[in-house]
Amino acid sequence: MDPLRTLWETFFDWESMREALPEMLTVGLPNTLILAVTAALLGSALGILLAVAGISRTRWLRWPARVWTDVFRGLPAAATILLIGVGLAPLGMQVWGPNPYPLGILALSLIASAYIGEIFRSGIQSIEATQLEAARALGLSWGEAMRLVIIPQGIRRILPAWVNQLIALIKDSSLVYFLGLLASQRELFRIGQDYAANTGNQSALLLAGLCYLALTVPLTHAVNWIDRRLRHGRPATGPAHDDPDDLDLALPGAAGGNQR
């Protein structure tokens, strides 16, 4: 047999792909997006807490944040997902019954929180200390200054890194298949794998791969676009210099002595 032809049929069997496509799009794609986006949002909420704790002056906040970050960033994603998904299963059973899906989201969120917390922390620390000083000088409390002045600026700076993390989550969500999902809960990778196992042909798995690329490649380009936009800024709409306004305040007597 022609080895090239065998290779081609293993990966590019259109019939297998067509068969897998409907389930891929109606079940796999939504589940992948739900897993990734929910974990990104939960991970961001946790990440903000981690970031603020990580730069706190209180050792008892800084220290646990450090350990949390080291653990969930240092463990392989597969290990975390198994540990959380299997380890917490009895607990989950009591809360929402025999359903591994929420635990999968939890595990992904914990992983994401460690990375996103570090992203947020560097974002906050990249804002000049003088911004905090100016906000405090106006009478804003530390919390108000962070919430209204520092964090909104930090978020703009970390957006590219955050989107990168979303890309990582989309890929890591494939690992949730370890936990034994119900048929309706399967994400892209699991569906591709199931078809591949049933037919002995890898084309459905390749299709799953193409679905991942269809999600991640545009996001990668979005990151680059955001990055460029942030670096160069949007085109100015007003004159930046040479504005005669700057000179029109030569008030009578202002330079000519103290008239009090």
């Binding site: 911004q131 000083e133 909104p152 504005d243």
Partner: protein
């Protein structure tokens, strides 16, 4: 501005680690008066300003407004009484000019949205920038940004204004407008402490000029006494270099 207060610093000490930045500073500023603080870089001028609104807490000594120590007050409340303008303007770049001014009005003076906007526009108008209310700080020149920063501080109706080298980061042609605004404020009776390298401004506008070196006020007095009849050799040397 009848709501101005007198300011006094008494024997203020402050160290960063082992670095003694302030070593017993005394400074008196009468109500409605303007004190200019001059001196070489690293002499502690900016640090001194920051002890007045307690962005930095003195290790020793006292800060008095109208004769009353402020060191036990809530710092956030104190800072609403003390306006501060920085060398680098420090406007919030993610907000419009108007929002820069209304932020503390709404949060700290508890004004409603309409009232905060009205007060902000009034103060932007006062610094000649009402037309720039909707611009972003990044779209303004340095001089305009600094005038917005002054409007932002004034809108809080402070009783004392602190200026930390407010014109040092400006292009030369933009310095005059900001100094004129500061002189106007001084003439209207605002109590001001102005850290500056603008000797002309100190000579013309200040009631008191204080010369700082190595964390102490070496000599203070009326501008004439300082600029024409300096006593301390260190001050005479400094003046010979900057004038």
């Amino acid at each position: 501005m009848s709501s101005s207060v007198s300011l006094a610093l008494r024997d203020v000490h402050l160290a960063f680690g082992r670095n003694q930045v302030l070593r017993g500073v005394d400074l008196e500023v009468a109500r409605g008066a303007t004190a200019c603080v001059i001196g070489p870089s690293g002499s502690g001028k900016s640090t001194l300003l920051r002890t007045v609104n307690r962005l930095l807490e003195p290790d020793r000594g006292d800060v008095l407004l109208d004769g009353r120590s402020v060191l036990r007050d809530d710092p956030d409340v104190l800072r609403q009484r003390v306006g501060m303008v920085f060398q680098q303007f420090n406007l919030f770049p993610h907000m419009s000019v108007l929002r820069n001014v209304t932020l503390a009005l709404r949060r700290k003076r508890r004004l409603g949205d309409d009232e905060a906007v009205a007060v902000a526009r009034e103060h932007l108008d006062r610094v000649g920038l009402a037309a720039k209310a909707d611009a972003r700080p990044g779209q303004l020149s340095g001089g305009q940004q600094q005038r917005v920063a002054i409007a932002r501080a004034l809108a809080m109706q402070p009783e004392v204004m602190l200026f930390d080298e407010a014109t040092s980061a400006l292009d030369p042609e933009l310095v005059k407008g900001v100094l004129a605004l500061m002189a106007e404020l001084s003439a209207q009776g605002m109590t001001m402490v102005v850290v500056t390298h603008e000797m002309g401004f100190a000579r013309e506008v200040a009631d008191t000029v204080a010369f700082m070196d190595a964390g102490v006020v070496l000599e203070a007095g009326a501008p004439n006494a300082i600029f024409e009849a300096a006593q301390h050799p260190r001050l005479r040397r400094f003046l010979s270099q900057v004038l």
